[in-house]
């Protein structure tokens, strides 16, 4: 696979990672952004896209998603590149002190500086407590639908009651041989028309809808073969299944960041407030992921950290140059 090459590799494309591209761009440093989510924006896009935020300087109020969209506009002149939907697993140091960053899908990025803007960590699927669930991951159990063709003519069981469970049930009813939706409740609060569609599909016999039920056990030999479902009366029935897709939303976990040799205190990276550097030269941490005396997990604080970080990172990217500080009002924004 071809290696991506950049000055600064930013892990986490939340608001703070995005703004870091702007500050880096002013100093002529190029950035590559990486995020485990398929979209940019971090918590703002994933948890509260429609909520108004009131403490962004200069904006009496701005919707979270709107702020993310504006940040993307603001950094556009500096042509950042992106790897989305992949989790950064590993960072390795080269002899020349540069780094190689590797994702779970084996994408590699070569860079001079690493900036960790990982927020509360990687957003990962919430997993139900079912014995041996993890043994079957990638062997019939998946927490998201990446390639629907995988399910063609298969027997698929979905679990969950939210929007994504409804949407994928409807979608897969056209693709899979048999679709079963298992939901703990007996109503759906997702989009009303999706809920109605699911009830209609069940009436027409096109899907199997099991309400007030839970997946309690799974079985198979190497690959998933059976899913055991308990109903309200706790009666358990076995169901043949090639795939089980539990869809219970996402929740952030620190994840691989803990294994990169950085000083960690209560799930946050300890930094020096002079430049937000970590204990490893060339690696910085900004935004919600870092900690220092007086730390506030606010977007505006993360923006400040990004500016100071970039002035320090400059020495790794341009070791022979001296940095002179200039206001944007002096030269404007010089696009790459």
């Amino acid at each position: 696979m071809e290696m991506i090459s950049t000055d600064i590799c930013i892990i986490g494309a939340g608001p703070v990672g995005l703004f870091a591209v702007f500050e880096a761009g002013l100093l002529k440093m190029r950035c590559h952004l990486m995020d485990a989510l398929p979209q940019v924006g971090g918590q703002l896009s994933e948890i509260y896209p429609h909520k108004p935020i009131y403490d962004i300087p200069g904006y009496p109020t701005v919707k979270a998603q709107e702020l993310v969209d504006n940040l993307l506009d603001q950094i556009d002149p500096f042509k950042p590149t992106f790897t989305l939907g992949e989790r950064v697993e590993q960072i390795t140091r080269q002899e020349d002190q540069s780094f190689i960053v590797t994702t779970n899908e084996h994408t590699k990025v070569h860079c001079k500086v690493i900036v960790i803007a990982g927020g509360l960590g990687c957003f990962e699927p919430r997993k139900p407590t079912i014995e041996r669930l993890e043994d079957f991951e990638g062997r019939g159990v998946a927490y998201m639908v990446k390639n629907p063709e995988l399910f063609r003519n298969k027997q698929v069981v979905l679990a969950g009651g939210g929007d994504s469970a409804l949407d994928w049930t409807i979608f897969l009813s056209e693709v899979a041989e048999k679709v079963t939706l298992v939901h703990r409740g007996d109503t759906f609060r997702g989009a009303p028309d999706s809920a109605e569609k699911v009830f209609n599909l069940a009436k027409e016999g096109k899907i199997n809808l099991l309400l007030k039920s839970n997946v309690v056990r799974i079985g198979g030999n190497g690959h998933l073969k059976e899913v055991f479902i308990a109903d309200q009366a706790n009666e358990v029935t076995a169901l043949e299944a090639d795939h089980l897709i539990p869809l219970f939303g996402l929740s952030p976990k620190l994840g691989p960041i803990a294994e990169w040799g950085l000083n960690i205190d209560k799930s946050a990276i300890v930094v020096n407030t002079e430049d937000y550097s970590t204990n490893v030269p060339g690696i910085y941490a900004i935004g919600d992921i870092n900690t220092y005396p007086g730390k506030l997990k606010l977007i505006l604080c993360g923006f400040h950290e990004a500016a100071l970080m970039c002035h320090s990172a400059f020495k790794f990217v341009y070791p022979d140059q001296r940095l002179s500080f200039k206001y944007t009002t002096v030269n404007g924004v010089n696009a790459f």
């Binding site: 509260y48 909520k51 919430r126 939210g162 409740g185 997702g190 209560k266």
Partner: protein, 108 residues
Amino acid sequence: MMINITVEDRNGERQQLEIPDDISLSLMEVLKASEYHILATCGGMALCATCHVQVLEGGERLGNANDQELDMLDTLPDAGSDSRLACQLRIDQSMDGAVFRILGATEE
């Protein structure tokens, strides 16, 4: 007036909490203030479901969950019919004598 509740932590240990009835806080805020480790990522907006509690006793006296709360509870694989979000439960007299078990996510 004081409100008495019992809280069971993740290790099954129980503790009584005595709370003034006029403090105008949610159960999530009281649990955090009492040094229970609850993430409460969204700060009490029923958007993160990390303040999940199970109401072991006295659930019938609490107000019903609204759609937003039920929606978030649906994202929790381990939620049951007695599950609530602590941030959506305001401290008031209806809570007196209730028993809560903390189930939400912790920092690690």
